[in-house]
Amino acid sequence: MIARWFRLHAQSLTGAFGRLGSTLLGALLNILVVAIALALPAAMQVLLINLGSMAPAFEDAADFTVYLGLTVDEDRGRDLAQAIGARPDVESARFISNIEGLAELKAGSGFGDALDSLTENPLPHVVKVRPLPATIERLDALAAELDALDSVDFVQLDRQWIERLQAILALGGRMTDVVTILLAAGVLLVIGNTIRLEINNRRTEIEVLKLVGATDGFIRRPFLYTGFCLGLLGALAAVLLIEVGLLLLAGPARDLAALYATDFAVTGLELRGIGILLGGGALLGWLGAWLAAARHLRAIEPV
């Protein structure tokens, strides 16, 4: 019984491959369409993963800038910086006097001459605080505590952009979900349509098979395998497309990372991603074929 089952399936599978091969160009086009439809959401996913992995590469993202009151003098500022630096939740605290700050501003902003004309230094002293890694809530609490100190004017969080990035990533994730669903439906339709045409082409054969006593399952099986193979080969081509794309991106990404002095490297699909893509492609192909076969095979009856 089991041997019989395997035999029938092996026949269908070889038949399906033969069928794919018999119209090589058409099959290639179909595979390419499926590949592009699968590669798009997968590529978006890879992009998101890479953007997400970029965030911790910028370690100063969580730094605070603590602006001291204008009345606070340098000695008190240095004491305060030392006190903050000694806290258990702070990695380091660096005091920047208003003189250093002005020098930095002159060098960096290009307003050198205008700043020279100032008779008085308008800048406050500043303490740059680098907290130890912690949750956003803990960082917020730390910032609030520092803000409450008498000599502190206000605390600026430098991690705003990271929150923005996270918001963008969340939006991108949602968009990827939508695109994935739409394109999965597209793959389903493309393969379903291919199978429908295939069924129409084999109409006389199906009639003959039904006449000599073939069950619906027997007739459907090779079409399911055709769909399965189309989906699987399409997914394989999608993996190839993405890997080639990443290979093209790897060089420029390395250059960019070097400019930002991080050791960021492009992450590929990895084994899990490849597995999901291949499995998803094969499943979609099988399902598309099944839907088409269920709809169209019943309509063919010998006369």
Binding site: R4, L209, L211, V212, G213, T215
Partner: protein, 221 residues
Amino acid sequence: MIRFENVQKRYPGGREALAGVSFELGRGELAFLTGPSGAGKSTLLKLVALIERPTRGTVLVNGQNTTRLTRRRIPKYRQRIGVVFQDHKLLYDRSVFDNVAVPLVIAGMTPREIGKRVRAALDQVGLLDRESHRPITLSTGEQQRVGIARAVAGRPDVLIADEPTGNLDPELSLEIMRLFVRFHEVGVTLLIATHDLDLVAQLGQRRIQLVGGRLAGDSGA
């Protein structure tokens, strides 16, 4: 083996193909179904193969009431019936061997068993040396013999044939009919529709005659 009880078949649109036909064909019997075109011969055979269903009456095949068979159970039923068509209905993209093997593959036989049975069937119709040919390279008579080999390969309970010699010249027709008679001699039940009365007369077998959807004569009843 085949029993028709007051069978009526009316097609959508009102045309009545069979009107109250009753007859019985015993196990191992051979009968020719004759009559002019439109007499209802094809319809009668389609009722046996469950391609059509009767409007009224019952068709019993091998003791089974076919009117009660659900759609799901038709394939299993058809596996027990061998059918030969006027237009052969072969698969032209496969070899002669594969064509004859189709019902055996469907039945899930082992490749060994299939090989044995296909060769036996091809041997019976005298085409053993053509097993690897494509049907299209064979003559019409040979193609018909491939169709007959396919019909008998599964060793069915009943063999039905609809105008199996319709496209053949008299000599080939006689050859095909002699083949059927040989099957009859080894115990196969056969019902063969033909309008070729001369041929039937030559063979001297039971004759069931249809005219206008009614039984007009049965030489063996």
